[in-house]
């Protein structure tokens, strides 16, 4: 494991673990967020028959880097009527919630921030810090649009946590573990051992599991779209109604923090789906390192597959955002309470019956 190695290297457990904990931030979240914004703009441009950013660098590849450099230079404005301490604190609370979730994500068999037994449950818990941060930001801006955006956002996140957790619980019932690293380890070798295809179970049970697991994944995916405030569930920041939702009053680097947190959250929910349903860091076709006999290549491949599958799901989120129209508030609640939650319950019972055999 990399954290232990670093602890040995620096001769101090504390310093080694701190550096290991900062790795995903600098090696993945920052570059990923920059290029996810670029990808979002390119995807939207492609769908709307436009070109998208194409001036800075080849094909506009450096556009978002230029954007973030601009944002860093901006003056740090706090509105005169804003609640200053809360206004300053809110972006950090939101980002802390997102970044804390990365601690339990297994990037490969040799790197996981904290190999705790409560993995998924922990991620669901720390995401509630972001909820409070959203309320803080919406309140502190002292702007009615911010406040409405925050209220809508929180109402939505709290409601959609129910089907998301139920879908995860139904999957965890089959798997028998909450530790994302263990869950990834189980789905070895080939893609038909992924939990969405019944997992490494043998016999008729595997085929019986395919449909309920697929349903669980679809429910979790829809609910996670709502939890990260993406279209079709983006009424919290509906541009045509609320300016920009809870971060209307923010500028410069603080605004960039919200962006970073939003894109970070998109990856976190995708990574949960990947770890539980799509094999985590396992390769779908076996490892190149195994066939070539190079053992150090295997963890690198695992990191690649984890990030690749996660980014692919993020791409699906972007694709949906530019395809579907926004839901109304009442439709939003109907989808959650009248469709997703009952289906998730039925699925839970179904999977329970299947696992009994």
């Amino acid at each position: 494991m990399i954290p232990d190695y670093l602890a040995e290297f620096f001769g101090n457990k504390f310093i080694g673990y701190l550096i290991a904990a900062a790795l995903p931030l600098f090696l993945w979240i920052l570059p990923y967020a920059l290029y996810a914004v670029y990808a979002e703009r390119k995807v939207s441009a492609f769908m709307q028959d436009r070109i998208g950013p194409n001036r800075v660098g080849p094909k506009g590849l450096f556009q978002t880097i230029a954007d973030i450099l601009k944002l860093i230079q901006k003056e740090d404005i706090v509105p005169a009527s804003a609640d200053k301490p809360l206004f300053v604190m809110a972006p950090y609370v939101i980002f802390a919630g997102t970044f804390a979730a990365f601690a339990a994500l297994p990037f490969s068999s040799i790197y996981i921030g904290s190999n705790i037994n409560l993995g998924v449950f922990y991620i669901m818990a720390v995401s509630s810090f972001s909820v409070v941060g959203i309320l803080m930001a919406g309140w502190a801006g002292n702007n009615k649009y911010s406040l409405y955006g925050a209220m809508r956002s929180v109402a939505q996140i709290v409601s959609y946590e129910v089907p998301a957790l139920l879908a995860i619980v139904s999957a965890v019932m089959v798997i028998g573990s909450l530790n994302l690293n263990e869950i990834s380890e189980m789905q070895t070798a080939y893609f038909w051992n992924w939990w969405i295809f019944g997992g490494p179970v043998v016999g008729i049970k595997k085929f019986l599991l395919i449909i309920p697991m697929t349903i669980a994944f679809i429910i979790f995916f829809i609910a996670s779209l709502a939890e990260v405030n993406r279209t079709p569930f983006d009424i919290p920041e509906a541009e045509s109604e609320l300016v920009a939702g809870f971060h209307t009053e923010y500028t410069g680097m603080k605004f960039a923090m919200f962006f970073l947190a939003e894109y970070g959250n998109m990856f976190v929910v995708s990574a949960i789906s990947v770890s539980i349903f799509f094999g985590g860091w396992q390769s779908p076709f076996g490892y190149l390192g195994n066939s070539l006999g190079i053992s150090w290549l295997i963890p690198v491949e695992q990191v690649f597959w984890f990030l690749f599958k996660g980014s692919l799901l993020v791409l699906v989120q972007m694709w949906l955002r530019w395809t579907l129209p926004r839901l109304r508030v009442d439709q939003l609640m109907t989808v959650c309470w009248k469709y997703l939650t009952p289906y998730a319950f039925i699925n839970l019972v179904l999977i329970g019956i299947i696992t009994l055999f």
Binding site: L86, V93, L118, A125, S128, V132
Partner: protein, 172 residues
């Protein structure tokens, strides 16, 4: 002093300072938001005590549920309806005396008692053990808690429905 001691005092400091703000803040919204840090600190202490499951449940219920409810309540009543909510401290002297007595008693008990110290056990799978206990040893209590929650749920639904019926009658 080991690193763990340092972490413990850090969390203790977070709890004390934020809890003081909860009590002393003039603006009720600050009280509500600083509860976030109190709950966070308590969760940290639970983690140091090897109770990881309770720590996560603490965060998910108190921060994700109760705190959000409190903040919602404060926001909806304070800013939208333009009702001024004032928080003031009443009876400062008696409360200081009473809490001083309670605190002194606790410190006295803490220092005077001859505590039995057990070797810390590191539990590997807390969730599995808790789950097993919930459906075997504490079965009845677990079911009772479920029934109480169900009653509360039905009650809140009934209250919400009643208002809707009344407005419909007014409309007719």
């Amino acid at each position: 002093m080991t690193t763990y001691d340092l972490i413990f005092y850090l969390f203790a400091l977070i709890i004390l300072v934020s809890a003081f703000i909860v009590v002393a803040a003039r603006n009720i919204i600050y009280s509500a938001f600083s509860l976030l840090f109190t709950f966070f600190g308590v969760a940290g202490i639970y983690v140091l005590l090897n109770a990881d499951f309770i720590a996560v449940v603490q965060v998910i219920i108190y921060v994700g549920g109760i705190l959000v409810l409190i903040i919602f309540g404060v926001m909806l009543t304070n800013k939208i309806t333009e009702v001024e909510i004032k928080t003031e401290s009443f009876q400062v002297l008696p409360s200081i005396i009473i809490s001083g007595i309670i605190g002194g008693t606790l410190v006295a008990i803490f220092t005077k008692t001859n505590w039995k110290v057990a070797e810390p056990q590191i539990l590997d799978k807390t969730v599995t053990e808790i789950g097993r206990f919930l459906v075997s040893h504490y079965m009845i209590l677990f079911e009772l808690a479920g029934i109480i929650l169900l009653v509360a749920l039905i009650g809140s639904v009934m209250i919400a429905r009643k208002e809707k019926l009344e407005t419909e009658e007014v409309e007719k």
